[in-house]
């Protein structure tokens, strides 16, 4: 009974711990694998907090800055990007009604704050104790410093020591781990040591087929595999008796984690924060583990389970051992929370000196003295501190006064006050000015700058919209040449603008997955892609299959494709083998020179040549998609065909039978036998087996092999059947999909003869971030399958007939086309052209011509944004330049991608038609008149807007602090485990975007601003949605997203305040 009670107690503790870890993990964002790069807000889990507070938390947990450095904002101010008016407006809430006189000049509090921002006066600078740099202002600085001395209060060293000790005691466990504390106090490198270990283990364990020699024992899970291997390591990180200690660890990671937390003595109320801090030490790896743990169906997760508890169990084991060791050796205390806090309390002076020494704030002589005391474990701390107090503190105070005097001088220069007048001011006034400056430290400047920065852009964009509205006149309802629907992606905006300019084409914006939530498998591929936003779930499966008329061409294609695949595999194996590379380099090495020379010197030509070769060897074949749901008989037939193929393959592999001896009857008999599972084989099967030379025993054994090793059994068949039934859409589903899509984009009448659903993808070489350039709405994949699926559905006559009943009457001469835009080259490829009726060939030709013209203009516009293109490139040269970038394997910036995105416009195209938005705005077509019950707007705000906000925040944070929230320079990137990238050979998984994606040299290309959502809809409708959805309240009330409504009837813009009020924006 007692045993049962104990086991329940243990299980309760484990469950409780799992809950704590789950909540602790909220501070880190999920990390999707690179092949389906998903833009996301790195502070997504903190969106329940106001933006400024979340940024502060980000700084505390991850050390990331939430705003650009002030000098960059000042640069914007100097270039006019930030105007004085906007800066003043942003400063207004901070200004007090105070002023003082300096000479004849009255200086207000506002003047001072503005000068602090504009001149960077408040930048914290440590004044050296004895600066010897010649400065003509030195005399004046000395005079001002002398004046300040008369009113300055002497800093109390004891008070400072006390406050540091108290602050650190309070921070320990909340913002500071014991490992960090040791590093900061004892000069150890525990955090780095632990990180190195964790990187090593995570890299090996989480590998997804990249490593030549995979880590053994991964099926035991991260913790189990680590425990099994680490026990063979000799003293990792210098931990004594590590072998014994690791082998004694509990089998359950939860128990090990609890044991470590207990060993470190972390109080229960601090455990969540403590674990959060541990997770933020390597937010990349922890974020990937967090993502993978939630993907229960993910093949790698099923095979090699991993989770944050397991990760933390390992991490905290190292932490506890290293902290214990450091505290014992250096301080003679236990490495526990209570012992450390007691040490800080009782040895405050020693603690102060140690911290100052590690932080590099002691003069060299004292630093050596502290080292000596620490090394010899002497008790001379008080003596050293007394000497420090007598010799250094006074000099520090003098230096601080000089620093204040420098700031005063800078202020005088900024306000154009004669410096001599400053020297004549009373010390009290000078002190007041210094106090004002100190009350507005540079750490408080970011929010002010950001508001001013955003205001400038908002004014311009909203002004353009208002002007457009004023100039626009109701166009006559004429039938356009074509209508084309593009993804809301900001890169579509220039293309749409140019297409509209080259002919009477109408364009619309819609999330690039085109309302088709499909899991897709391309022809000849073995893996599915999830073609929808990551916040959704797959509803249907679609496969690409060869067109039925191709007959023998398919098998020929398959055979050749297999040869190519085999060649690739062979080369790969030869390269990765232990021995073969030695021979291979000599014999085949020079073959690799050809691609190297081609890719380097003639990238475009090389690409064309290899594509030609590929076409010659494996000609592409026409395909179609399995959009219609299969009938039960068809499902059974498909299943049977797949199973028969398996049996055939198994017969060849296991029995060595030639294909001529494998009869269909034998295959079918074996299939049935494997599925039924028991009993004697049917006589016809026995007969067929005998004919093939298989005895009864071999037949039975083979059937068993089929069941066990080839997964050919009733259970698997049932699962497989269920999956096949998910393939395609029923008629009802097709109607719903097309209806929803057309209504959401506001395309319900005046259909053109051609309607193009244009997805997008990208082409680049040697670019691990390739999927970041693809369609975010399609889960980081190319969107062509979705476009093809929707076009197929919309061309279905039965769907159209039913749509007529719902009020969408599609003319019989309207044909839906699918296409894909390559955002790197601006080319548009149209699919399924053989389905176009002969009557529409001329329309297609005209559309293709105009698309080409628009592509050329778009390339021309985009070329102007590349920093290395100094002169305007026009026409074909622009196209060629764009194409060259896409094939150049040394190009770190094939295109700017979504950089510079700023706003999301939900409304009719008439609102923005003709406005050059510079490829910065997500455009979603929406007609509020088609949405009387608000259903469509609700979807737009809770799905596409969320995706846009993630993209926007990813870019924002990657720009403001590329080292922490971004992934640093691409130059140092290395792909790891086929799942992400590291900087150099050893780092955290790098989050966010590369420096080259958002920065142009040292200046941001992407202007980091929060998303501005502009909705053309009545305000009360929007309010209802905000009240209904927490995510919207978080966005607008916590200032993650700015919201502006265009009141359709009034034609007036209103800004939504965080307080929930609307404020009219006057044009």
């Amino acid at each position: 009974m007692e045993e049962v009670g104990r086991s329940i107690d243990i299980e309760t503790r484990r469950m409780e711990l799992r809950g704590v870890v789950k909540v602790a993990g909220e501070v880190i964002a999920q990390y999707w694998p690179m092949r389906t790069f998903v833009h996301h807000n790195p502070l997504h889990s903190l969106e329940y907090l106001p933006f400024e507070e979340a940024v502060r938390r980000g700084k505390q947990f991850m050390g990331g800055d939430g705003y650009l450095p002030s000098h960059l904002y000042r640069r914007y101010l100097n270039t006019g990007r930030i105007t004085s008016a906007h800066l003043d407006a942003a400063l207004k809430p901070l200004i007090h009604d105070k002023h003082l006189a300096i000479g004849s000049r009255t200086v207000t509090h506002g003047d001072l704050l503005r000068a602090c921002l504009a001149e960077g006066i408040c930048t914290p600078v440590v004044e050296p104790l004895d600066d010897q740099l010649p400065d003509p202002s030195n005399d004046l600085i000395d005079r001002l410093a002398a004046k300040l001395a008369s009113v300055s209060t002497c800093s109390d060293l004891d008070g400072r020591i006390r406050s540091i000790a108290e602050g650190d005691q309070a921070a320990l466990g909340r913002w500071l781990t014991l490992s960090h504390w040791c590093d900061d106090t004892l000069g150890t490198q525990i955090v780095r040591q632990i990180n190195d270990q964790l990187i090593k283990w995570c890299e090996a364990f989480l590998d997804e087929g990249h490593a030549t020699w995979p880590m053994p024992g991964r099926e035991k899970g991260l913790y189990g595999a680590w425990k099994a291997l680490a026990v063979h390591e000799w003293s990792p990180c210098g931990i004594e008796d590590s072998i014994k200690k690791i082998s004694r660890l509990p089998d359950h990671p939860e128990d090990a984690l609890l044991e470590s937390l207990d060993a470190l003595g972390i109080p229960a109320e601090l455990r969540q924060d403590y674990l959060s801090l541990q997770l933020t030490a390597l937010p990349g790896w922890a974020g990937f583990i967090k993502w993978r743990a939630e993907q229960r169906e993910y093949a790698w997760q099923r095979a090699y389970p991993v989770g944050l508890v397991k990760y933390l169990a390992i991490r905290l084991w190292y932490a506890r051992e290293l902290v214990q060791q450091a505290c014992r050796q250096e301080l003679g205390i236990d490495g526990r929370y209570d012992s450390v806090t007691a040490y800080i309390r009782t040895h405050a002076e020693e603690y102060y000196l140690r911290r100052q020494r590690v932080a590099g704030r002691l003069p060299a002589l004292y630093a050596e003295e502290v080292d000596r005391l620490a090394h010899q474990k002497n008790n001379g701390w008080k003596t050293v501190l007394d000497r420090y107090r007598a010799e250094v503190v006074a000099r520090q105070e003098a230096a601080a006064r000089r620093s204040a005097a420098r700031k005063l001088l800078a202020l005088a220069r900024s306000l154009e006050i004669d410096a001599a007048q400053l020297a004549e001011c009373s010390p009290t006034d000078l002190k007041r000015v210094v106090d004002w400056m100190e009350a507005f430290p540079e750490s408080d400047h970011g929010p002010v700058w950001l508001k001013a920065f955003e205001a400038g852009y908002h004014d311009r964009l909203l002004g353009q919209l208002q002007q457009r509205r004023a100039e626009a006149h109701q166009p006559a309802q004429t039938r356009p040449y074509s209508q084309s629907v593009y993804c809301i992606d900001v890169r579509s905006e220039p293309f749409r603008r140019h297409l509209e300019s080259v002919g009477p084409h109408e364009t619309l914006g819609f999330a690039g997955f085109f309302a088709a939530f499909i899991r897709y498998r391309a022809w000849g591929k073995e893996h599915d892609t999830e073609q929808f936003p990551v916040i959704m779930r797959a509803k249907h499966e679609v496969r690409e299959i060869p067109r039925s008329y191709l007959g023998h061409k398919v098998s020929k294609h398959e055979a050749r494709a297999k040869w190519v695949a085999a060649g690739h595999t062979l080369l790969h194996d030869l390269k990765e083998n232990v021995v073969t590379p030695y021979v291979m380099v000599e014999s085949l090495g020079w073959f690799y020179g050809l691609p190297m020379v081609g890719k380097t010197l003639l990238p475009s030509l090389y690409r064309r040549w290899t594509a030609w070769l590929r076409r010659i060897f494996v000609p592409s074949i026409a395909t179609t998609l399995t959009v219609d749901k299969l009938a039960p008989a068809e499902t059974a037939e498909m299943l049977a065909a797949e199973q028969q193929a398996t049996v055939r393959k198994a017969l060849q592999e296991r029995t060595g039978l030639r294909s001529s001896r494998i009869t269909p009857e034998l295959v079918e008999g074996l299939r049935q036998r494997a599925l039924s599972g028991q009993g004697d084989p049917d006589p016809p099967l026995v007969k067929e087996a005998e004919r093939a030379g298989l005895s009864m025993e071999r037949l039975n054994a083979f059937a068993e092999t089929l069941q066990r090793q080839y997964d050919l059994n009733a259970r698997t068949a049932s699962r497989h059947k269920e999956r096949i039934t998910r393939t395609g859409f029923t008629l009802e589903e097709q109607i719903l999909t097309v209806d929803t899509a057309l209504r959401m984009m506001g395309l319900t009448k005046n259909f053109a003869r051609l309607v193009l659903f244009c997805a997008h993808g990208s082409t680049s070489d040697n670019n691990p971030y390739e999927s970041a350039l693809d369609c975010g709405a399609c889960g980081g994949n190319e969107g062509s399958p979705n476009a093809r699926a929707l076009a197929t559905m919309a061309n279905n006559q039965r769907v159209r007939e039913r749509l007529t009943k719902t009020g969408i009457e599609i003319p019989t001469d309207t044909h839906f086309l699918a296409g894909q835009m390559d955002t790197t080259t601006d080319d548009i490829h149209l699919f399924d052209l053989e389905d176009v009726p002969p009557t529409h060939r001329a329309d297609v030709a005209r559309l293709q011509e105009d698309l080409k013209g628009a592509a050329e203009l778009t390339s021309q516009e985009r070329c102007g944004r590349f920093p290395e293109v100094r002169q305007a490139v026009k026409g074909k040269r622009a196209e060629a330049h764009a194409r060259r970038r896409s094939t150049d394997w040394s190009q770190v910036r094939p295109e700017w991608g979504l950089s510079s995105n700023t706003a999301f416009l939900i409304g009719r195209r008439d609102l923005s038609k003709g406005i050059d938005m510079g490829g910065r705005v997500f455009l979603h077509s929406y007609d509020y008149r088609e949405d009387p019950n608000n259903r469509l707007l609700e979807v737009l705000l809770t799905a596409p807007q969320v995706v846009a906000q993630w993209i926007n925040m990813e870019h924002y944070f990657s720009t403001v602090d590329n080292d922490v929230y971004g992934s640093g320079s691409k130059i140092y990137h290395n792909v790891v485990g086929r799942l992400g990238i590291m900087s150099g050979p050893w780092s955290d998984l790098r989050l966010g975007l590369a420096r080259q994606t958002v920065m142009n040299g040292d200046v941001p290309y992407h202007e980091p601003m929060r998303l501005l959502t502009i909705i053309e809809a009545p305000r009360e409708r929007i309010e209802k949605l905000i009240a209904r959805h927490e995510v919207l309240r978080h966005y607008y009330h916590n200032e993650w997203v700015h919201l502006v409504a265009l009141e359709p009837e009034e034609g007036v813009l209103y800004r939504y305040r965080p307080t929930g009020q609307w404020a009219r924006i006057d044009g």
Partner: protein, 427 residues
Amino acid sequence: MMGEAVASVLSAGVPLLGALLSLALWPQPDKLRICSIATAVISLGAVVGLSGYLTGPTEGFLFVYLLPIAAGASLLGQPVHPLHRSSWIMTLVFLGLGLGVLTLRGPAEQMCLIAIVDHTPLWPMSWWGIGLFTLGVACAGTSLLADPPLSSVTSLLSCAILLPLVPLHGGYLAALTRLPGNLPPFLAVLLPTAGLHGLAALIRTVPDVVAIGITVLAVVGGLYGAVKALAQSRVRLRLAYGSLSFFSMLWWFMAATRGTAPSAAVFVGAVALATSGLLLSWQVVRTRYGDDVDPQAVSGLASAMPSYAVLLSLLALAAIGLPPFGVFSGFVGLLLSAPVSFSIAILIILLVWLAASWYILEMVQRLLFGARRSDLRHTDLRRDELASLLLIVVALLALGVIPAHLIGPGTMTPPTTTDTGSFAWKK
């Protein structure tokens, strides 16, 4: 003969005269500094102009040219500050005395040497340094007055104090770490060159037993210097111990060959210049962040002070003995002209060389890379600092690429007389 004496006196006299003139500008530090720099330039011009009249020292004219360059560079690298006035004047005095040691002959040469050694301990606040320099004075005086072998022994001792050899290296260390202003970077060149000048004449006469003793001390000193340099956190100490280990290599070579190769002068000149350059680089940091700045407190200067970063990196590369700088060519020259093909000593010497590339680069890496402290004011090199460091780098480059026989004594001077049995050295 008369012309030579006049030329020697003139060479040594110009800086001393400049020092006297500078005294008149004492109340105006900026002008005093300019005058000092001008004097160094004139001295260089004078020795170049008078070189035709001078009898070349055993180790060649290299040091005669290097001393004014080092003095000028050290003066240029110093900020204008009233506290540094005396060190500027002392630099000129030492320059004059140094040129005197190199160009004068007979008692005058020894008197200059005594003056250098005698003046140096006035400055360092180190009893060990003062003690060793006092010993140096005594040795130099004795060598002037006594007969061989005592004079030879005392001469050798004074050389070991100037061109540091364990255990007599304390004076050199004190000069590099305790002297104020620009004296350390200048004395880093002056002391070893004066030491080699004496040693070049003396080493040919040492008996085998002394040579073996020197070899042992040199190898031990090289190892000791490298280990101590590795353990130092303070920059000047690290550089002083580092140069000690390099100079120990030279002692080993001299003892092994009993002669002076052209590359020995290049090696000493280059090591001394590289040490001087690195000391000047550290002076740049001290000028900005205070004399007692903790080296661990400054990092990430590469992005904030690019000119400084480039020059410091070049100096570090030169100091660790990479081509095309003088330390490399000098070191390779020494190895190639060494009589022994392989020995434990060579292995240790190579180890010492490798160690230098570790601790010097570690120091430079810490200063230039890592997190940039945003709370520090970063000011890149001023024009005179830039000129100073550039001068040193160019000089190091010149030492590396100019053929050694053009700047050294020409050929290796073989041992003339060595009495292997007794202790009666010839002077």
